[in-house]
Protein backbone atom coordinates (compact mmCIF):
# COMPACT_ATOMS: atom_id res chain seq x y z
CA UNK A 1 0.00 0.00 0.00
CA UNK A 2 2.83 2.34 0.85
CA UNK A 3 4.43 1.57 -2.49
CA UNK A 4 1.12 2.48 -4.02
CA UNK A 5 1.14 5.92 -2.42
CA UNK A 6 4.72 6.49 -3.43
CA UNK A 7 4.02 5.42 -6.98
CA UNK A 8 1.10 7.79 -7.20
CA UNK A 9 3.17 10.65 -5.85
CA UNK A 10 5.85 9.94 -8.38
CA UNK A 11 3.35 9.95 -11.23
CA UNK A 12 1.93 13.26 -10.09
CA UNK A 13 5.35 14.80 -9.88
CA UNK A 14 6.17 13.56 -13.37
CA UNK A 15 2.97 15.05 -14.71
CA UNK A 16 3.88 18.34 -13.12
CA UNK A 17 7.34 18.14 -14.62
CA UNK A 18 5.93 17.64 -18.08
CA UNK A 19 3.66 20.67 -17.56
CA UNK A 20 6.76 22.66 -16.74
CA UNK A 21 8.48 21.44 -19.90
CA UNK A 22 5.46 22.24 -22.04
CA UNK A 23 5.18 25.72 -20.58
CA UNK A 24 8.87 26.25 -21.10
CA UNK A 25 8.52 25.47 -24.77
CA UNK A 26 5.78 28.07 -25.02
CA UNK A 27 7.81 30.74 -23.28
CA UNK A 28 10.85 29.93 -25.39
CA UNK A 29 8.87 30.34 -28.58
CA UNK A 30 7.47 33.64 -27.35
CA UNK A 31 10.89 34.86 -26.36
CA UNK A 32 12.31 34.00 -29.76
CA UNK A 33 9.51 35.89 -31.41
CA UNK A 34 10.08 38.86 -29.14
CA UNK A 35 13.77 38.94 -29.94
CA UNK A 36 12.98 38.91 -33.66
CA UNK A 37 10.49 41.71 -33.32
CA UNK A 38 12.98 43.76 -31.39
CA UNK A 39 15.59 43.31 -34.04
CA UNK A 40 13.08 44.48 -36.65
CA UNK A 41 12.14 47.47 -34.58
CA UNK A 42 15.72 48.30 -33.79
CA UNK A 43 16.84 48.43 -37.40
CA UNK A 44 15.45 51.67 -38.83
CA UNK A 45 12.95 51.38 -41.69
CA UNK A 46 14.94 53.36 -44.25
CA UNK A 47 18.65 53.06 -43.85
CA UNK A 48 21.60 51.72 -42.04
CA UNK A 49 21.96 54.50 -39.56
CA UNK A 50 20.67 54.03 -36.07
CA UNK A 51 18.75 57.09 -35.05
CA UNK A 52 17.43 55.50 -31.94
CA UNK A 53 20.73 55.04 -30.34
CA UNK A 54 22.01 52.76 -27.67
CA UNK A 55 18.90 50.86 -26.67
CA UNK A 56 19.40 48.36 -29.42
CA UNK A 57 23.01 47.60 -28.80
CA UNK A 58 22.10 45.63 -25.77
CA UNK A 59 21.94 41.89 -26.18
CA UNK A 60 18.81 40.60 -24.61
CA UNK A 61 19.39 37.71 -22.36
Amino acid sequence: FLEDVKGQAKAELQASESRVQAQRKVTQALQTELLQLYSRLDSPPGGASEPCGPHNTRPAG
Binding site: T27, Q31, L34, Y38, R58, A60, G61
Partner: protein
Amino acid sequence: AYYEKVGFRGVEEKKSLEILLKDNPLDVEKLCTFSQRFPLPSMYRVHVWKVLLGILPPHSESQALVAGYRREQYTDVLQALQVMRFLHAATPQVEVYLRMFQLEGQELPRLSELTPPEEEDEDFLAIAKAMEEIVEDPVDCYWLIKCFVNQFNNKFGDSIPHLPKSLEHYLSQEDGRLLAHLKACGALRRLPHSLWFRRCFAGCFPESSLQRVWDKVISGSCKILVFVAVEVLLSYKIMLMAMNKPEAIVQFLSSMPQENTDAIVTKAIDLWHKYCGTPMHSV
Protein backbone atom coordinates in the same frame (compact mmCIF):
# COMPACT_ATOMS: atom_id res chain seq x y z
CA ALA B 1 30.10 37.43 34.30
CA TYR B 2 27.14 38.68 32.32
CA TYR B 3 28.89 38.01 29.04
CA GLU B 4 30.07 34.64 30.25
CA LYS B 5 26.52 33.75 31.02
CA VAL B 6 25.28 35.00 27.68
CA GLY B 7 28.11 33.20 25.91
CA PHE B 8 27.36 29.98 27.72
CA ARG B 9 23.69 30.32 26.98
CA GLY B 10 24.58 30.91 23.36
CA VAL B 11 26.48 27.63 23.18
CA GLU B 12 23.63 25.72 24.79
CA GLU B 13 21.15 27.30 22.41
CA LYS B 14 23.27 26.47 19.42
CA LYS B 15 23.46 22.86 20.53
CA SER B 16 19.74 22.55 21.01
CA LEU B 17 19.11 24.10 17.60
CA GLU B 18 21.54 21.63 16.06
CA ILE B 19 19.54 18.80 17.61
CA LEU B 20 16.35 20.24 16.14
CA LEU B 21 18.00 20.56 12.75
CA LYS B 22 18.94 16.88 12.80
CA ASP B 23 15.29 15.88 12.94
CA ASN B 24 13.97 14.36 9.76
CA PRO B 25 11.46 15.62 8.89
CA LEU B 26 12.14 18.92 10.58
CA ASP B 27 9.59 19.91 13.18
CA VAL B 28 8.67 23.33 11.85
CA GLU B 29 6.61 24.16 14.89
CA LYS B 30 9.53 23.53 17.21
CA LEU B 31 11.78 25.60 15.00
CA CYS B 32 9.24 28.43 15.25
CA THR B 33 9.22 28.17 19.01
CA PHE B 34 12.98 28.17 19.11
CA SER B 35 13.15 31.31 16.99
CA GLN B 36 10.57 33.00 19.14
CA ARG B 37 12.56 32.31 22.28
CA PHE B 38 16.17 32.61 21.20
CA PRO B 39 18.22 34.48 18.63
CA LEU B 40 19.23 32.25 15.73
CA PRO B 41 22.97 31.60 15.44
CA SER B 42 24.00 33.44 12.28
CA MET B 43 25.43 30.32 10.63
CA TYR B 44 21.97 28.69 10.68
CA ARG B 45 19.81 31.75 10.17
CA VAL B 46 19.28 31.60 6.40
CA HIS B 47 18.59 27.87 6.52
CA VAL B 48 16.04 28.20 9.32
CA TRP B 49 14.34 31.16 7.66
CA LYS B 50 14.02 29.14 4.46
CA VAL B 51 12.38 26.29 6.31
CA LEU B 52 10.06 28.58 8.29
CA LEU B 53 9.01 30.40 5.13
CA GLY B 54 8.38 27.15 3.25
CA ILE B 55 11.15 27.70 0.72
CA LEU B 56 12.74 24.42 1.80
CA PRO B 57 10.60 21.41 2.72
CA PRO B 58 11.00 19.67 6.10
CA HIS B 59 12.10 16.34 4.64
CA SER B 60 15.82 16.26 4.04
CA GLU B 61 15.48 13.86 1.09
CA SER B 62 13.34 16.44 -0.71
CA GLN B 63 15.49 19.46 -0.05
CA ALA B 64 17.89 19.12 -2.97
CA LEU B 65 15.04 18.51 -5.41
CA VAL B 66 13.05 21.49 -4.17
CA ALA B 67 16.11 23.74 -4.04
CA GLY B 68 16.63 22.87 -7.72
CA TYR B 69 13.02 23.82 -8.49
CA ARG B 70 13.47 27.14 -6.70
CA ARG B 71 16.58 27.89 -8.71
CA GLU B 72 14.85 27.01 -12.00
CA GLN B 73 11.92 29.23 -11.21
CA TYR B 74 14.23 32.09 -10.39
CA THR B 75 16.13 31.67 -13.65
CA ASP B 76 12.97 31.39 -15.75
CA VAL B 77 11.55 34.62 -14.42
CA LEU B 78 14.82 36.51 -14.54
CA GLN B 79 15.57 35.45 -18.08
CA ALA B 80 12.14 36.43 -19.36
CA LEU B 81 12.51 39.90 -17.86
CA GLN B 82 15.86 40.28 -19.57
CA VAL B 83 14.49 39.25 -22.95
CA MET B 84 11.59 41.65 -22.48
CA ARG B 85 14.11 44.40 -21.78
CA PHE B 86 12.82 45.15 -18.35
CA LEU B 87 16.31 44.65 -16.98
CA HIS B 88 19.66 45.93 -18.07
CA ALA B 89 23.20 45.54 -16.91
CA ALA B 90 22.84 48.72 -14.88
CA THR B 91 19.57 47.80 -13.18
CA PRO B 92 20.15 47.80 -9.42
CA GLN B 93 19.78 44.34 -7.93
CA VAL B 94 16.90 45.34 -5.67
CA GLU B 95 14.99 46.58 -8.69
CA VAL B 96 15.63 43.22 -10.37
CA TYR B 97 13.97 41.59 -7.37
CA LEU B 98 11.09 44.06 -7.55
CA ARG B 99 10.36 43.35 -11.23
CA MET B 100 10.56 39.60 -10.62
CA PHE B 101 8.17 39.93 -7.71
CA GLN B 102 5.81 42.05 -9.82
CA LEU B 103 5.88 39.58 -12.69
CA GLU B 104 5.07 36.66 -10.39
CA GLY B 105 2.31 38.70 -8.78
CA GLN B 106 0.95 39.78 -12.18
CA GLU B 107 1.62 43.38 -11.30
CA LEU B 108 4.32 44.08 -13.80
CA PRO B 109 3.59 47.31 -15.71
CA ARG B 110 3.98 47.31 -19.49
CA LEU B 111 7.45 48.15 -20.64
CA SER B 112 6.18 51.27 -22.39
CA GLU B 113 4.64 52.44 -19.15
CA LEU B 114 7.53 51.48 -16.96
CA THR B 115 8.74 54.18 -14.62
CA PRO B 116 11.45 54.08 -12.01
CA PRO B 117 10.17 52.44 -8.82
CA GLU B 118 7.51 54.49 -7.15
CA GLU B 119 6.73 55.37 -3.60
CA GLU B 120 4.47 52.37 -3.17
CA ASP B 121 7.43 50.16 -4.04
CA GLU B 122 9.65 51.71 -1.39
CA ASP B 123 8.66 49.28 1.35
CA PHE B 124 9.52 46.33 -0.86
CA LEU B 125 12.81 47.89 -1.93
CA ALA B 126 13.84 48.66 1.66
CA ILE B 127 13.16 45.08 2.71
CA ALA B 128 14.99 43.79 -0.36
CA LYS B 129 17.97 46.00 0.34
CA ALA B 130 18.23 44.76 3.92
CA MET B 131 17.79 41.13 2.88
CA GLU B 132 20.54 41.57 0.32
CA GLU B 133 22.89 42.55 3.14
CA ILE B 134 21.97 39.45 5.12
CA VAL B 135 21.85 36.81 2.35
CA GLU B 136 24.63 36.29 -0.15
CA ASP B 137 23.15 33.95 -2.75
CA PRO B 138 20.79 35.84 -5.10
CA VAL B 139 18.43 32.88 -5.51
CA ASP B 140 18.04 32.50 -1.75
CA CYS B 141 17.80 36.24 -1.42
CA TYR B 142 14.97 36.59 -3.94
CA TRP B 143 13.00 33.72 -2.42
CA LEU B 144 13.45 35.05 1.09
CA ILE B 145 12.32 38.53 0.10
CA LYS B 146 9.33 37.19 -1.79
CA CYS B 147 8.18 34.81 0.92
CA PHE B 148 8.91 37.26 3.73
CA VAL B 149 6.84 39.98 2.07
CA ASN B 150 4.03 37.60 1.10
CA GLN B 151 3.86 35.95 4.49
CA PHE B 152 3.98 39.30 6.25
CA ASN B 153 1.12 40.69 4.18
CA ASN B 154 -1.00 37.55 4.34
CA LYS B 155 -0.51 36.85 7.99
CA PHE B 156 -0.30 40.33 9.44
CA GLY B 157 -1.95 42.54 6.83
CA ASP B 158 -5.04 42.93 9.00
CA SER B 159 -3.06 43.57 12.18
CA ILE B 160 -0.73 46.25 10.83
CA PRO B 161 -3.27 49.12 10.99
CA HIS B 162 -3.77 48.36 14.70
CA LEU B 163 -0.12 48.47 15.66
CA PRO B 164 0.04 52.25 16.27
CA LYS B 165 -2.76 51.91 18.81
CA SER B 166 -0.94 49.03 20.42
CA LEU B 167 2.23 51.11 20.56
CA GLU B 168 0.32 53.83 22.38
CA HIS B 169 -1.01 51.28 24.84
CA TYR B 170 2.34 49.76 25.77
CA LEU B 171 4.03 53.14 25.89
CA SER B 172 1.40 54.27 28.39
CA GLN B 173 2.33 51.26 30.53
CA GLU B 174 6.03 51.91 30.30
CA ASP B 175 6.29 55.68 30.33
CA GLY B 176 3.16 57.78 30.64
CA ARG B 177 5.10 61.04 30.69
CA LEU B 178 6.78 60.38 27.36
CA LEU B 179 3.47 59.40 25.84
CA ALA B 180 1.82 62.56 27.16
CA HIS B 181 4.63 64.66 25.70
CA LEU B 182 4.35 63.03 22.27
CA LYS B 183 0.59 63.53 22.36
CA ALA B 184 0.81 67.13 23.51
CA CYS B 185 3.19 68.23 20.79
CA GLY B 186 1.25 66.39 18.10
CA ALA B 187 4.00 63.90 17.26
CA LEU B 188 2.19 60.73 18.28
CA ARG B 189 0.09 60.49 15.11
CA ARG B 190 3.08 61.31 12.97
CA LEU B 191 5.57 58.73 14.19
CA PRO B 192 7.26 56.84 11.34
CA HIS B 193 4.72 54.01 11.53
CA SER B 194 5.27 52.94 7.97
CA LEU B 195 9.02 52.60 8.44
CA TRP B 196 8.49 50.60 11.61
CA PHE B 197 5.47 48.49 10.83
CA ARG B 198 5.45 48.10 7.03
CA ARG B 199 9.16 47.83 6.45
CA CYS B 200 9.82 46.02 9.72
CA PHE B 201 12.61 48.51 10.51
CA ALA B 202 14.45 47.80 7.25
CA GLY B 203 16.70 50.75 6.55
CA CYS B 204 16.25 51.91 10.12
CA PHE B 205 18.51 49.44 11.91
CA PRO B 206 21.79 47.95 10.75
CA GLU B 207 21.35 44.36 9.56
CA SER B 208 23.02 42.83 12.62
CA SER B 209 20.21 44.16 14.82
CA LEU B 210 17.52 43.90 12.20
CA GLN B 211 17.92 40.17 11.66
CA ARG B 212 17.19 39.49 15.33
CA VAL B 213 13.88 41.32 14.93
CA TRP B 214 13.13 39.47 11.71
CA ASP B 215 13.75 36.13 13.47
CA LYS B 216 10.63 36.93 15.47
CA VAL B 217 8.61 38.22 12.54
CA ILE B 218 9.42 35.22 10.36
CA SER B 219 8.60 32.79 13.16
CA GLY B 220 5.19 34.36 13.58
CA SER B 221 5.04 37.57 15.59
CA CYS B 222 4.36 41.04 14.28
CA LYS B 223 3.83 42.34 17.79
CA ILE B 224 7.57 42.38 18.33
CA LEU B 225 7.60 45.42 16.04
CA VAL B 226 5.51 47.32 18.58
CA PHE B 227 7.96 46.58 21.37
CA VAL B 228 10.93 47.58 19.26
CA ALA B 229 9.16 50.87 18.59
CA VAL B 230 8.49 51.31 22.32
CA GLU B 231 12.15 50.72 23.12
CA VAL B 232 13.25 53.14 20.41
CA LEU B 233 11.12 55.82 22.03
CA LEU B 234 12.29 54.95 25.55
CA SER B 235 15.95 54.91 24.51
CA TYR B 236 15.76 58.42 23.13
CA LYS B 237 13.40 59.74 25.77
CA ILE B 238 15.70 62.54 26.94
CA MET B 239 16.15 63.86 23.43
CA LEU B 240 12.50 63.45 22.51
CA MET B 241 11.35 65.23 25.67
CA ALA B 242 13.51 68.18 24.65
CA MET B 243 11.90 68.45 21.21
CA ASN B 244 8.59 70.19 20.79
CA LYS B 245 8.19 70.29 17.05
CA PRO B 246 6.67 67.10 15.62
CA GLU B 247 8.72 67.56 12.43
CA ALA B 248 11.92 67.46 14.46
CA ILE B 249 10.80 64.31 16.26
CA VAL B 250 9.80 62.55 13.05
CA GLN B 251 13.02 63.62 11.41
CA PHE B 252 15.10 62.33 14.31
CA LEU B 253 13.30 58.99 14.48
CA SER B 254 13.41 58.44 10.74
CA SER B 255 17.19 58.64 10.69
CA MET B 256 18.05 57.32 14.10
CA PRO B 257 21.60 56.93 15.33
CA GLN B 258 22.86 53.43 14.55
CA GLU B 259 25.00 52.87 17.63
CA ASN B 260 22.91 51.18 20.25
CA THR B 261 20.35 49.42 18.13
CA ASP B 262 21.54 46.05 19.46
CA ALA B 263 20.68 47.08 23.01
CA ILE B 264 17.32 48.41 21.81
CA VAL B 265 16.48 45.07 20.20
CA THR B 266 17.56 43.11 23.29
CA LYS B 267 15.38 45.24 25.54
CA ALA B 268 12.50 45.06 23.08
CA ILE B 269 12.62 41.26 23.07
CA ASP B 270 12.64 41.22 26.89
CA LEU B 271 9.71 43.59 26.98
CA TRP B 272 7.83 41.50 24.45
CA HIS B 273 8.39 38.36 26.53
CA LYS B 274 7.29 40.26 29.61
CA TYR B 275 3.94 41.29 28.12
CA CYS B 276 3.24 38.41 25.80
CA GLY B 277 4.93 35.59 27.67
CA THR B 278 7.75 33.33 26.57
CA PRO B 279 6.63 30.56 24.25
CA MET B 280 6.87 27.44 26.38
CA HIS B 281 6.98 24.67 23.80
CA SER B 282 9.91 22.55 24.93
CA VAL B 283 12.86 22.53 22.61
